[in-house]
């Protein structure tokens, strides 16, 4: 029978139930009437005849029930009966029910969350028409997609494989819509961007390739739906309005559709503007410098007849032409194709690897949960063997009993699934609106959809069936006579079973996770107080970009001097320094290659080092508390007229000049051939957000010699941050009310650097909790099973004078031995794993008495929690009752 037919039949019988009952009743009544007719004919009175007929017929209700069953209309009724019975049974052992439901809730919830994230990041297609033929171009050599603008133009104009190639980059800009300026995120896109992607405007129009007529020629912006919604209140008349972007007039031409948030998945820009206008936002014209790779990604739809392999060959031939023509700027130019959503393989590879790991892990958690619940169920089935035997003896069929047990298992799994799903929905909602780094519009929308609900339901049913089958063999083997006569069999296997092994592995994994999370927590706590090469304590960062307020060329350093002077006058401020890039450990850092003084051929492959580069004001080292090891600090006299100088860090000195002493007064070359003299050396520090990195080289150039309109002021002071913020704001407003700025403590800014270790710590903690939960159910299940199987034996031992200790040993020896073995193995593995952890969490080390003690205490508590109920039960055995009844 096909499923549909079957269902229809079942439903039909359900709704015809009352009709069928009436029919059965009528038929039986007819039988009795006919019989009474016969009896009446033999001389009885009508009333007496009917009474006799009813007696002869036997138990009407019983036969009616049998008729209904024979007619096959009882599936749904039986189900309802089973569900009601299961509810009663579960209500009688709430501890078991809660443990089982919680375990499943955790396991299914974890799977739902992981699947939802997978769905959002990898399975869910991007909102771009014909997304399947959209490819981004990345470099084959370093899995990196960045491109310079001239290279992009060559790729766009000379390829024969793409219908069109678009490019985008990300920048921050100051936007004035009439009120005071605000800092917003903008995607600088090529003119053909929307046409290449095939996106239609939601309001107004988009700009096109034909609008690009050289640098700063297309003053148009397209708003994203979210920004339009929140800042323009869905005003459809917005098209045509003039706004100021970094004090340059731009016209809003349209609004992008709500589903389209740019092609980079995590990033939500506020608006799109033509890439040819980038100078007005970035402060310098990058359209003609082939050596500066600042375009995030170049992408386009493949022509229908072109295969990816052909496209790569086509791109590579352009690449080899570029290599030959521009050896100074373009190193190896080979290409590969990748999906644009996660910047190709740059983010895609780690994200995919991470997600694969998570999916596997979640699956394993669910399997382990099912195995543990299976043994819990087996323990219960053993406890209920007398009840089952009684029901069998009273004429219930084996299938009927199995069906009821199955109903119980599926009910538990469905409840677990529901609780887990509810939890995961809350978690996913939170995750969707979560902006991990407050300064960046980064966010991953992972709202649960029908797929997620479907998966949770499927997993619940599957796991219910999975652990429901474990006690099945046990039930089927039950011989009612034997059980009632002798009680349940007391054989306990002495061999090591697969179940033992599974539990041991679970405990070991749990111990690994507990160890790792403790190592991570301790490492994190320590890294908050380690030496970064600067002191984030008592320092304030003021983030501004002078180009947003229209400062150009010589106006920039002049304004920077005025800002420093103004803030220095605030009472309580000790020193004020400037840095022209994101300060150390921010999400963004700049690297520039350098050459030894002797190098004549300045092609990238001859570079001697690639230090992180900063342009700083004289007081910067003081304000940041970076120690000067040799030579002098930079001064305001290191300006355009003076000789080019730099302060480098220890690592740079060691790498290029051999030692700090050796580096003083020596020269090195920058990419454009400028010779730079080393006048000072500072201590090493942390520059990228990866605090666990090896020491990196860094060079600090005088801000007057390499100017930057981007300006971060470092203000060192013991003042209260709130008070200081107000004071700085006031000073800056006095200087220029139109300059947008963002003020926070350096400690707060450090959150970026601590983001990865924090996430690692929290995830390890969550996984550790899950591992602990699983271990508890596993140990609980095994201990409960052992106790109920050996109840009679334990009773006899007690009757013969065994002490409590001996009883406990007999009852719980096995699970406790597993716990001890698993914990030790896990602890050892955890210590090994801590080395891996040290790549993410700075200063993570397992050689820490606190960690070791913590792990031991955690595992002990876990064992105590898991064996408490079975131990109580074993101790509560009353030999007299037991021997009388079992």
């Amino acid at each position: 029978m096909k499923l549909v037919d079957w269902l229809r039949f079942r439903f039909a019988t359900l709704f015809q139930r009352s009709r069928m009952n009436v029919e059965i009743e009528e038929e039986l009544r007819a039988h009795i009437q006919h019989r009474a007719d016969d009896l009446e004919r033999s001389g009885l009175g009508r009333a007496e005849a009917e009474r006799r007929a009813r007696i002869e017929f036997g138990g009407q209700e019983k036969f009616k029930e049998e008729c209904r069953e024979a007619a096959g209309g009882t599936f749904v009724e039986t189900l309802i009966q089973d569900v009601r019975f299961s509810f009663r049974v579960l209500r009688k052992s709430p501890g078991f029910a809660i443990v089982a439901v919680l375990t499943l809730a955790l396991a299914i919830g974890a799977n739902a969350v992981v699947f939802a994230v997978l769905n959002a990041l990898i399975l869910h297609p991007q909102y771009v028409p014909r997304a399947e033929s959209l490819y981004g171009i990345e470099h084959g050599s370093d899995k990196d997609a960045v491109e310079s603008y001239p290279d992009y133009l060559d790729l766009r104009d000379h390829n024969r494989s793409f219908q069109g190639l678009a490019a985008y980059s990300i920048a921050q800009a100051g936007l004035e819509t009439g009120e005071s300026p605000s800092r917003i995120w903008v995607e600088e896109v090529s003119g053909n961007y929307f046409d290449v992607l095939g996106i239609q405007p939601y309001v107004g129009r988009f700009f096109h390739g034909a609008d690009e007529l050289g640098a700063n020629s297309a003053p148009y912006v397209v708003l994203t739906y979210a920004y339009w919604h929140s800042h323009f209140q869905d005003d459809r008349g917005v098209a045509g309005r003039i706004v100021q972007v970094n004090k340059h007039p731009f016209t809003i031409v349209g609004v992008a559709p709500p589903e389209f948030r740019g092609t980079l998945m995590f990033f939500n820009p506020d608006f799109f503007m033509p890439i040819v206008d980038q100078e007005q936002v970035d402060g310098q014209n990058l359209l003609n410098t082939r050596g500066r790779r600042w375009i995030f990604m170049v992408m386009g739809h493949l022509k229908p007849e072109v295969t990816p392999a052909q496209a790569i060959a086509d791109l590579n031939s352009i690449g080899s032409y570029l290599e030959k023509t521009y050896p100074q700027d373009d190193g190896q130019m080979t290409f590969a194709l990748a999906r644009p959503g996660l910047l190709g393989d740059y983010l895609g590879l780690p994200v995919r690897a991470f997600m694969t790991g998570l999916v596997l892990l979640a699956g394993l958690i669910l399997l382990a949960a099912c195995a543990n619940l299976g043994s819990l169920f087996a323990a219960r089935a053993a406890d209920r063997s007398r009840e089952v035997a009684l029901r069998l003896a009273l004429g219930s069929s084996g299938t009927r009993i199995l069906r009821q047990l199955f109903t119980e298992a599926v009910m538990i799994s469905l409840m677990g699934g529901a609780v887990g799903l509810a939890g995961s929905v809350v978690l996913l909602r939170g995750l969707s609106v979560w902006q991990p780094l407050p300064q960046f519009p980064i966010n991953v929308p992972v709202n649960p959809d029908a797929n997620v609900y479907g998966l949770a339901l499927l997993l619940s049913l599957a796991s219910g069936f999975l652990f429901g089958t474990v006690p099945m063999r046990q039930i089927l083997r039950t011989d009612p006579y034997a059980v009632i006569k002798w009680g349940s069999s007391a054989r306990v296997g002495r061999r090591i079973t697969a179940r033992d092994l599974l539990l041991g592995v679970q405990i070991a994994i749990c111990a690994v996770l507990v160890t790792s999370s403790m190592v991570a927590v301790r490492g994190l706590a320590r890294s908050l107080h380690s030496n970064f090469g600067f002191e984030p304590q008592n320092a304030m960062l003021v983030d501004t970009d002078l180009s947003m307020a229209g400062y150009r060329d010589d106006g920039v350093p002049a304004m920077q001097r005025r800002m420093i002077d103004a803030v220095e006058t605030i009472p309580g401020v000790k020193s004020v320094g400037l840095v022209g890039q994101y300060p150390p450990t921010a999400l963004v850092w700049n690297i520039s290659i350098v050459f030894t003084d002797e190098t004549a051929d300045l092609r990238p492959s001859n570079a001697a080092a690639s230090p992180v580069i900063y342009s700083i004001s004289p007081e910067y080292f003081h304000a940041a508390s970076t120690a000067l090891l040799a030579g002098r600090d930079l001064t305001w006299h290191d300006d355009k007229k003076g000789p080019r100088v730099a302060v480098i860090n220890q690592e740079f000195a060691r790498k290029i000049f051999g030692s700090v002493a050796n580096a003083m007064g020596r020269y090195y070359k920058r990419r454009d051939g400028t010779r730079i003299q080393v006048v000072g050396v500072v201590e090493d520090g942390k520059y990228t957000p990866n605090l666990a990195e090896d020491p990196q080289q860094a060079m600090f150039l005088p801000i007057l010699q390499s100017p930057s309109s981007e300006t971060w002021m470092v203000v060192r002071s013991n003042l209260d941050p709130q008070q200081l913020t107000t004071a700085i704001k006031g000073k800056l407003r006095d200087l220029d009310a139109g300059l947008p700025s963002f003020i926070q403590t350096w400690n707060k800014q450090m959150d970026t650097a601590l983001f990865a270790p924090r996430v690692a710590t929290v995830s390890l903690g969550v996984l550790g909790m899950m591992g602990a939960m699983l271990s508890i159910t596993g140990i609980f299940g095994m201990a409960a099973y052992t106790v109920s199987k050996r109840l009679r034996e334990l009773g006899i031992r007690m009757a013969l004078g065994a002490q409590r200790k001996e009883v406990l040993q007999a009852a719980l020896g096995r699970p406790l031995k597993l716990l001890a073995l698993g914990s030790v193995a896990g602890l050892l593995l955890g210590i090994l794993a801590a080395r891996v952890l040290a790549f993410i969490v700075y200063q993570a080390t397992p050689r820490d008495p606190l960690v070791l003690a913590g792990v031991l205490i955690a595992m002990l508590l876990l064992g105590l929690l898991a064996t408490w109920i079975p131990a109580q039960r074993a101790l509560a055995i009353d030999p007299a009752t037991l021997l009388r009844e079992e």
């Binding site: 009528e26 038929e27 007819a30 009437q33 006919h34 019989r35 036997g58 009407q60 024979a70």
Partner: protein
């Protein structure tokens, strides 16, 4: 009562099919018919007949329809389907073989072995 024999498990269905094969009957009629054709030697619990009837209908061996009985009462009449007729033939043959084998086994005298 002593001359009545207990029914062997599984034989009720066969008896019902046989009774219905003699013409459409209602439940009580089938019971009477079985009594008649077995010489009133088989003991059948009256109510136990009905689950058997429902089972046979569900298996497609019988079909049922409402009608009026000779006593002028509304009753459900059963008749054989083609499958029911086929089943009756098969069951009869296998029963006869079994009965003959049992009878032969029980009638053997010690000296004949």
């Amino acid at each position: 009562m002593n001359d009545q024999a207990q029914l062997l498990p599984g034989t009720l269905d066969l008896l019902i099919l046989r009774a219905v094969s003699l013409g459409p009957r209602h439940g009580y009629g089938i019971l009477l018919c079985i009594g008649q054709i077995s010489g009133n030697t088989l003991l059948i619990e009256q109510g136990a007949l009905y689950p058997g009837l429902f089972r046979l209908v569900r298996q497609g061996l019988l079909k049922a329809s409402w009608g009026t009985s000779e006593n002028n009462r509304r009753a459900k009449f059963y008749e054989l389907t083609a499958a029911g007729r086929r089943r009756l033939r098969e069951e009869t043959e296998s029963w006869n073989r079994l009965a003959a084998a049992i009878a032969s086994a029980l009638s053997q005298q010690p000296e004949e072995i």
